[in-house]
Symmetry: D3
Subunit: 239 residues, 6 copies
C-alpha cells in the first residue's frame, strides 16, 4: 500500500497552468500533486559563443528551489555562493531533454532559457519540471510564431515529458512522492517523447542492486505514465 493510497500505476493529480507569469514569452505552473514548479521560457536574441554565425540557436534550462520549498529550510544557493551538484545535474538534464525535441536550426540564432523554479516540493521535481518546461517552451514558440519569427511546428519535433518510477516495498510504482522517494529501493527517471522514443533514462539503486526484470517493470509503468502526461500537455495547449 502506498502512503498516498494510490494504485501502483497511478500518477498524482497533474495540472499544467499556462500563462502564470505575465512577463515571460511562455510560462507554465506545473503541479504533480503537492510538487509545484514554475517554468518560464525567456527568449534572447543571442547565442553562446560557440554557436555564433552558425545559424543555429540554443535551448537551455536553469533550476532552483525556494529555500522553504522543502520540509526543512535549505540554504539559499545565492547566499551560499554556488549551485549544488544536484542543482547542476538537474538543470543539465532538463536542457538536454528539451533539446532532444527541438530543431535548433529552425529556431535560428536565438536562445531560449527555461527557468524551472520549485515553489513547493514533494518528490519528482525534475520530472515535473521537464513536463512543464515543454509547455512553457511551446508557448514561447507560439509567441514567436505570432511575430513571424519561426513556425512553432518547425522547431518542435515532438512532445517530451518525464516521470519517475521506483520499487517501493518490493513493488514497482509510478510517480514517487517524497515519502516514497526517501525510502524506495530503486529510483528511476524516464524522459520520453510523444512518439515513445527514450530521451533519457537514469536508474539508481538506493539500496540493493536491481535486476533487468525490475528495469523492465519500471519502463512499462513509465511508458504508460508519459503517455498520460503527453495527453495532458496536448489538452493544456489546446485549451
Amino acid at each position: 500500500m502506498r502512503p498516498s493510497k494510490r494504485a501502483a500505476n497511478q500518477m498524482r493529480a497533474v495540472s499544467l497552468e499556462r500563462g502564470f507569469s505575465r512577463h515571460a514569452e511562455g510560462s507554465c505552473l506545473v503541479r504533480f500533486g503537492e510538487t509545484h514548479v514554475l517554468c518560464t521560457a525567456s527568449l534572447e536574441e543571442r547565442v553562446p559563443g560557440w554557436l555564433k554565425n552558425t545559424g543555429k540557436g540554443w535551448v537551455t534550462a536553469e533550476y532552483g528551489m525556494l529555500p522553504r520549498a522543502t520540509g526543512d529550510r535549505m540554504r539559499r544557493e545565492a547566499a551560499a555562493g554556488k549551485q549544488s551538484g544536484r542543482t547542476q545535474e538537474i538543470q543539465r538534464l532538463i536542457g538536454r531533454s528539451l533539446r532532444a525535441i527541438v530543431n535548433l536550426t529552425a529556431l535560428g540564432e536565438r536562445q531560449i532559457t527555461v527557468d524551472c523554479d520549485v515553489i513547493q516540493a514533494d518528490g519528482g521535481t525534475r520530472t515535473a519540471a521537464i513536463t512543464g518546461a515543454f509547455v512553457a517552451l511551446s508557448d514561447c514558440l507560439s509567441w514567436m510564431e505570432e511575430r513571424g519569427m519561426v513556425k512553432r511546428n518547425d522547431v518542435l519535433k515532438d512532445h517530451v515529458a518525464a516521470i519517475s518510477c521506483g520499487i517501493y516495498n518490493g513493488v514497482p510504482v509510478l510517480d514517487l512522492d517524497y515519502p516514497e522517494d526517501s525510502s524506495a529501493d530503486t529510483d528511476a527517471n524516464f524522459v520520453m517523447t510523444g512518439r515513445g522514443g527514450i530521451v533519457e533514462i537514469q536508474g539508481t539503486a538506493e539500496g540493493e542492486p536491481f535486476s533487468e526484470a525490475d528495469l523492465q517493470s519500471l519502463m512499462t509503468l513509465a511508458k504508460a505514465g508519459i503517455g498520460e502526461l503527453v495527453e495532458k500537455q496536448k489538452a493544456a495547449l489546446a485549451g
Copy 2:
C-alpha cells in the same frame, strides 16, 4: 494622470493569501497589483553565535527574485555566485523592519527566517515583501503558540507594513508601479507600525533634489496607505 489611471492616493489592489506553502510554519503570498511575493517563515532551534546563551532569539530575512520575475530575464544570483548589492540592501531592510516589532526575549533562543521571493515584479517588491512578511511571521508565531512555545502577542509588539511613494510628473503619488518607479523624480519607502510609529524611511532623489515640503507630502500619503495595509493584515489574520 498615472499610467494605471489610479488616483494619486490610491494603492493597487492588495491581497494577502495565507498558508500558500504547505511546509513553512507561516506563509503568505502578497500581491500589490502585479507584484507578487511569496513570504515563508521558517523556525529553527538555533541562533547566531553572538546570541548563544543570552536567552534572546533572532528574526532575519532573505530576499530573492525569480530570474524572469521581471520584463527582461535577469541573471540567476545562484548561478552568478553572489547576491547583488540591491538584494542585500533589501533583505537587510526587511529584517530590520520585522525586528522593530518583535520582542526577541519573548521569542526565546530560536531563529525565524522569513524568505521573500518575488514571483512577479511590477515595482514595490520590498514594500510588498515587508507587508507580507509580517503576516507570515505572525502565522509562524501562532504555530508556535499552538505548541506552547510562545505567546504570539508577547512576541509581536505591533503590526508593521511598508509602502512606497514618489513624485511622478510633479505630483506626489502612493504605491508606485514599475512604469512610475522608473520615471519618478523622487522615490521614498516608508516602513511604519500599526500605531503609526516610523520604523524606517528611505528617500532618494532620482533626478533633482527634493524639498522638505515634498517629503512632508509623501509622508502624508504613506501614513494613510500604511493604515490601509495594516487593516488588510488584520482582516487577513482574522480570516
Copy 3:
C-alpha cells in the same frame, strides 16, 4: 550630556585635507573627529557598457575599511572573498549622492571612480566619505579643466555633503560618534546639496519607532550641519 561633551547641535572638528594622495587626479583626507576617510578620485577613459556611445559619462564610488580601523579587528573583505552587504549599501549611497550633483553629459564619455577608504573609524564614516568625496571629485574635475577636457562648473551642478543625526538619550543630536551611534534610539543620515535640496534621507529606528516630530527635529539639525560642511568644502577648495 553627550559622551564627547559636545552641544546637541555641535559637529565634531572637521578637516578636509586636499591632495593627500600623489597619484590620484583628486584626493581628500576627510576627518570628522576621530573618523578619518581617504577619498581619491580616479579618471578613466571608459564607461560602463550601457553608456557606450551615449556621450554620457559615469561617476561611481567604492568603499572599504582597513581591518583595524575599528575597535576590534574586522576580517579583511579581500580575504573573505566578498564585500559585505553594509559595504555595498554604503558605496551605492556615495555613488548616488555624487551623481545627484553631476551633469553626466558635460562630463563626456569617461568614468570617475571615487574610492573612500576608512583609515580610522569612530562613527559616521559614510557621511564623512560623501563630504570628502565631493572635494576629491571637484579636484579631479579641476585637473581635467586644466587639460581642457571639461569645464568643472559645467559638470558640477552644486555641492553635496552629508551628516548623521540621532536621538540619543531622548535628545536629538548632530553628528553621532561611535559611542552615541551604538546606543542611539534613532539614527538618520541626510545627504543634501549646497542649495539645501535633499538628495537622500535614511532614517532607522534602532529601538522604538520614531515620530514625524522626531524626524522634523533631526532634519532641522541636519540642515544646519550640512550648511557648515558646505562652507568648509568651499573654504578647502578655495585654499
Copy 4:
C-alpha cells in the same frame, strides 16, 4: 567499422596497476586504452556531520582532469574557482557506485575518499574511474585489515565496475572511445556488481531518441563487458 577496428563487443585493452601511489592507503592506475585514471583511496578518522555517533562510516569520491588530459587544454578548475556541473555529476556517480557495494556499518565511523584524477582522456573516463576506484578501495580495506581495523570482506559486499555502450553508425558497440563518443547517437553508462545486479544506468539520446530494443542491446553488451572487467579486477587483486 569502428575507428579503432575493434569488434562491436570488444573492449579496449584494460589494465589495473595497483600501488601506483606510495602515500595512499590504496591506489590503482586504471587504463582503458588511452584513457588513464589515477585512483587513490584515502582513509580519514572522521565522518560527515550527519553520521557522527551513528557507528556508520562513509565512502565518497572526487573527480578531476588534468588541464591537458584532453585534445585541447581545458581551464583548470582550481583556477576557475569552481568545479563544473559535469565534474560534480561524475564524482557523485562514482561515490554512489562505491557505496552500493559497501557495508557502511562494518566500515565503522571513518571516511574513505577515493580521488579519481584523469591523467589522459580518450572517452569513458567515468567508467574507467569506477572500475579502478573499486580496486583502490579494496586495497585500502586490505590495508585496514592488516592493522586489525576491519575485515575487508565484511565491508565489501561485492565487486562493482562500469562500462559505456552506445549506438555508433546504427550499431550497438561496447566501450566507446572519444571519436565514437563524440559522434554516437546514443550513449549509455552501466554500473553493475559482480553478481550482475544493476547499480546505475544512465542512457542519453544525443540525437534521435532510442527505443527499448536499443536499450536492451546495449544492456546485453554491457553485461558481458562488466563481466570481463570484474574478472580483471579479481586477477589484479590476486596478483
Copy 5:
C-alpha cells in the same frame, strides 16, 4: 645616474610614525620616500586550530593596497572577490619575517595579526611593510607588557628589517623606487635581523640572468641599508 639623483648606496628618506592608529595595540606609518604603508598590530586571544593547547602563539600578516595607491587605479581586491597571487606572496613573506624574530612560546596562546596597508606606492612596498610591521609588533608587545601579559623582550629575539636592491643601468643600487624597479635588470629583496642574520633573500632576474658577483654586490648594499633601518627602528622605539 639614478632618476632620484640618489647615490647608489643611498636610501630614500625613511620615517617611522608610531601610534598612527588609535584603536590598534601597536601601529606605525612607515614611509620610504613616497611609499607609505600603515602597519597595525592586532592582538586576539585565539590561535589557529593547529596550535590549540600547545601553549604557543602565532604571528601573521595581511597585506593590501588601496586601489589608487598606484599611478593607475587597480581593481579593489574585495570587489574582485580574491587576493591576487602577488598579495598572497607578500603577506606570507611579511609573516615569515616577523616570526623569524619572535619566540612563539613566550607569546603564549595568542595571535597577533599585523595588517600592512599601502596608502601610497612608489616601489618597495614589501620591504617598507616589514620594516614598519616590526615597530607595530614591538608596540603591541609593549602594550601587552604594560598589562602583565608578556615580557616584550622575551618575545622579541631581535630586530628585523628589509630593503630592496637592484642592478639599474648596470649599477648595483640600494632601495629601488618605482621608476628604477620597473626598468631594473635584477631585483632582490633582503630581510635581515639586527644582528645581521639573513632571514629571507629573494632575487629575480627581470631580464638577463645575474652572476654570483652581482648577488654579492647587492648583499653588501643591503647589509648596510638594513643596518641603517634597524637604527631608525631603535630611534623610533626610544622616542
Copy 6:
C-alpha cells in the same frame, strides 16, 4: 647523516620521461626520487590582452597537486574554490623561470601554458617542476619547428633548471627530500641557466637566521647540482 643515506652533495635519482602525454605539444614526467611531476606544454594561438598586436608571445605556468600526492590527503583546490597562496607563488615562479630563457618576440603572438601537476610529492616539487617544464617547453617548440612556425633555437636562449639546498643538522646539503625539508634550518631554491646565470634565488630561514657564508655554501652546491640537471636535460632531449 641524511635520512636517505645520500652524500651531502648528492641529488636523488633524476629521470625525465618525454612524451608522457599523447595530447600535449610537449610533455615530460620528471622524477626527483619519489617526487613525480607531470609537465605538459600547450600551445594556443592567442595572447593575454596586454600583448595583442605587439608581435610578442607569452609563456606561463600553472601548478597543482593531486589531493593524495602527499602523506595526508589535502583538500582539492577545485573543490575549495581557490588556489592557495603557496600554489600561486609556485606557478608564478615557474612562469618567470621559463620566460627568463625565452625570446618572446621569436615566439610570435602565441601563448604556451606549461601545466605542472604533482602526481606524487616528496619535497622539491617546484624545482622538479621547473626542470621538467623546460623539457616540455623545448618539445613544444620542436613540434612548432616541425610545422614551420618557429625555430626552436631562436626562441630558447638557454637551458633552465632548479634545485633546492638547505642546512640540515648543521650541514649544507643538496636536493632536500620531504623528511629533510620539514626539519631543515634553512631552505633555499635556486633557478639557474645552462650558462650558470642566476635566474632566481629564494632563501628562507626556517629557524635561526643564516649567514652569508651559509648562503655561499648552498650556492656552491646548487651550481654543481644544476650543472648535472642541465646535462640530464640535454641527454633526454638528445634521446
